[in-house]
């Protein structure tokens, strides 16, 4: 494996990790505030559909992005209604949202475009183009660092850079702002936050809205950045891999970056080498695809450092009367 190949695989990993990273951070906000979210998959799928549809209709990826956020937010609102206002089961609500997105995208897609649930392919105008960073071409010939800069760091769509910027931003919001402190507190001990006179309901709705926003970015990136248009079930379990990454990262933003990079890299390797020949044994691609899930189970089992979720996660907060 030569240097150019490694760069190519890493470049592909960066593209593949972006939706995972955005969705993982989305889940991080929600779960840190004590609302479990297994509906990341559905929100991404809905966002991918609305983003692709609007981008196709208007020819603008930016309007598509807005629509993607809108689609994802609508589902986030349902989740909030079920799990915060009506104190329902958050897991069941997440399951419902996944199915709702899975069915509605095809139903609407078939109605609007008549292509069996697909949207028409987006032309270049409807997609997010690649951003060439300054001097990328000039520096390409510099040994080692040149290709890294020109081919790995430069040349992604804007949402990739946004996703990476969201990591320090999330860290700062969670650990350096009053909002973040309250958000984390409400996920650990909502009663104490309530006692301090801060609304648990409002905080949790805020975090769910952020979750919807980030899932919207993730879905829009899938449909208008990574691919050119929406296809049925295009998220293909990415929402669950993001959930796995969230556990793998133990609900921390920087670790989320590494976890999603690892899972993106696994996918990139599996794509490039369907049957990875290690000389002694050949690893089938199915194993590579299942590896994120297997790793997560191992982490969950607590054999490699324990993953402890926010204490109040999954519990609706009942204010005492």
């Amino acid at each position: 494996m030569d240097f150019a190949t490694i760069i190519q695989i890493l470049d592909s990993a960066v593209r593949l990790m972006t939706p995972l990273l955005l969705a993982c951070l989305a889940g991080l906000y929600s779960e840190r505030s004590g609302v479990f979210d297994i509906g990341l998959e559905g929100k991404m799928l809905m966002a991918a559909f609305t983003a692709a549809s609007v981008a196709y209709a208007t020819g603008s990826p930016w309007l598509g992005l807005l629509a993607g956020i809108g689609g994802s937010m609508a589902l986030a609102l349902i989740h909030g209604l079920a799990s915060i206002t009506f104190m329902g089961n958050q897991l069941i609500s997440g399951v419902a949202i996944n199915f709702l997105a899975s069915g509605m995208t095809v139903l609407l897609g078939q109605r609007i475009f008549g292509l069996g649930g697909r949207t028409p392919s987006l032309t270049d105008g409807g997609r997010f183009g690649e951003i060439i960073l300054p001097f990328a071409d000039a520096l390409r010939d510099v040994p080692v660092l040149g290709p890294v800069y020109a081919d790995l760091i430069s040349g992604h769509s804007i949402l990739v850079y946004v996703a990476f910027l969201c990591v320090p931003l999330t860290w700062w919001v969670l650990f350096r702002t009053r909002f973040g402190l309250r958000l984390r507190a409400v996920g650990e001990n909502p009663a104490s936050v309530d006692t301090a006179g801060v609304s648990v309901t409002r905080l949790r709705y805020a975090s769910i809205a952020i979750c919807g926003l980030l899932c919207g970015l993730a879905g829009a990136y899938l449909a208008t950045g990574l691919s050119a248009g929406f296809v049925k079930e295009m998220t293909a379990g990415r929402g669950f891999i993001a959930l796995a990454a969230l556990i793998f990262a133990k609900w921390r933003p920087w670790s989320a970056l590494f976890a999603t990079f690892l899972f993106g890299l696994l996918e990139a390797i599996a794509n490039r080498y369907p049957n990875l020949d290690l000389g002694v044994i050949t690893i089938p691609s199915m194993f590579m695809n299942a590896l994120p899930y297997i790793l997560t189970v191992i982490i969950l089992a607590g054999f490699v450092g324990r993953a402890i979720p926010p204490r109040a996660g999954g519990e609706p907060y009942v204010k005492e009367r």
Binding site: F86, G88, L91, F99, G103, L300, A301
Partner: protein, 365 residues
Amino acid sequence: MDKMPKWADVILTPLISLILAMAISAIVILAIGESPWLALKTMIDGALGSSYGWGYTLYYTTNFIFTGLAVAVAYHASLFNIGGEGQAMLGGLGVALIALALPWPHWSLALPAAMVGAALFGAAWALIPAWLQARRGSHIVITTIMFNFIAAALLNYMLVNILKPAGTQDPASANFPEGAHLPQLTEMAAALGIEWGKNTPVNITFIIALIACILVWLLIWRTRLGYEIRALGRSEPAALYAGISPVRITVIAMLISGGLAGLMAINNVMGEAERLVLNAVEGAGFIGIAVALMGRNHPFGVFLAALLFGFLYQGGGELALWTSIPRELIVVIQALVILFTGALDNMVRMPLERIFLALRGKGHA
């Protein structure tokens, strides 16, 4: 004192939830420019209007009874088993390995053996999440989701690399031997001189599913183990105080749950396809969640809800055939049923409770 009479809790709330789900589905159908009335008529005609329709409806019902019971049993121990899909996949693997292992002379021998295989494989797939939940406190919802994906990868591998007969392209196992053919209800009806349900896949497994409902009812409400499962589900500290081991009951409840999900494979793998194909489960494991929620985790409720979803499934197929409404409408209805009966339960319940309290207040005054 309960806020509502029991009948309201058991019948009224699921019924109102169902009506809400159906009303929104009707709005969705209107929104995509079709007539909800025509859609309903097409579905009823296609699913219940002929013995052919009934044959398919009952075939799907059989699948959903097993996966619904699986979710229900785990739920009584307050465990949310989302892994029915993976457990049913593994059940299919168990059935295939046993059906292909011997040249079975007669179904009466092949069926019990395959049932053991299906239940064992399904239960084994539930064992690790159960153990991790009981011993290490890893959330069972997350581990069962992960195990669904691992199961899909495993099955894909087994079919492509091991079970696929040489020289074929299809990722599917060889056809099962003649002797492993289960009696179809059509054949059983024909033996009685009745012509019923020609060319439909409903088979003897339907009867086994009905027996499973009764057995689960006996287990949950008439045995010591069932009592222990319910006690754990209600309150872990109380169960512990009563000398019930949470670890033991968690693992046993999940083994039964996984076994039931695995048993579904008797119907779809042995009874219908007669070979193992990729994606044989077709989401039935997830529908089990809706079925259990709708049926209030009671075997009779599960049976009724499974029948409803069997009807929706067969009706949805007919809908896709005769109108321009895609099959995915069923997924939307399924989502709405889960949403209203499961997550938004309180939205229906709170106003109802208020009404009943008001009524009762008047009675006392």
